[in-house]
Amino acid sequence: MLPIGHYLFLGLALFIIGAIGVVTRRNVIVILMSIELILNAVNINLVAFSRLYGDVAGQVFALFIIADAAAEAAVGLGIIIAFFRNRETVLEDEMDLLKW
């Protein structure tokens, strides 16, 4: 294993890229994909620390995060589909009604 700083910087880079994606993109699907990137960055950190301390707890956490990402993607994309059916668009700044 390399010194932990390498992994932290990789995680940081992915996190920042993901965060920029969330903030700047208009397409909701791409925003969700950027969120997956962020979750991935978190997973890298967890696994790196798990390796550093020789404790698998970090890996179990990452496992739960992946399960959570699956649930999030399922519901998030369901919402997008419901939205698309009504408004014919997937751009987030056109999601301006609380109820339709």
Binding site: L63, A67, A70, A71, A74, L77, R85
Partner: protein, 124 residues
């Protein structure tokens, strides 16, 4: 990197190179395509294609994929359980292990029954 995976990594490069190289090789070997016009249109049984193909399709495909993801997560949790189960049974802890999985699967089976009643598993 665990040592056993190094050959896999090399093999992966080899495997990805194989179709790419053969595609390039085939490109060099075959005569250049001189096709133009209708031959390059997508095939729709001889009728001129109508509209863009990347149109909209039934939402049922999404529901199937979504259910697959949920059940896939469930299967991934079952795998670690399965590899430990035999040891538990040998140590006469099997009942506990079985119940812990029964609760997990039971909660998901509730969802399955709900989907069944709702008709989300029906295609037609």
């Amino acid at each position: 990197m665990p040592k056993a995976y190094l050959p896999v990594l090399i093999y992966a490069v080899l495997v990805m190179a194989f179709p790419a190289v053969t595609l390039v090789f085939a490109k060099l070997l075959r005569p250049d395509s001189t096709s133009y016009g209708p031959k390059l249109q997508p095939y729709e049984c001889g009728i001129a294609p109508e509209g863009h193909a990347r149109g909209r399709y039934s939402v049922r495909f999404y529901i199937i994929a979504m259910l697959f993801v949920v059940f896939d997560v469930e299967t991934m949790f079952l795998f670690p359980w399965a590899i430990l189960y035999r040891g538990w049974v040998m140590a006469h802890l099997g009942l506990f292990a079985l119940i812990s999985m029964f609760v997990f699967l039971g909660i998901l089976l509730i969802g399955y029954v709900w989907l069944y009643k709702k008709g989300a598993l029906e295609w037609a």
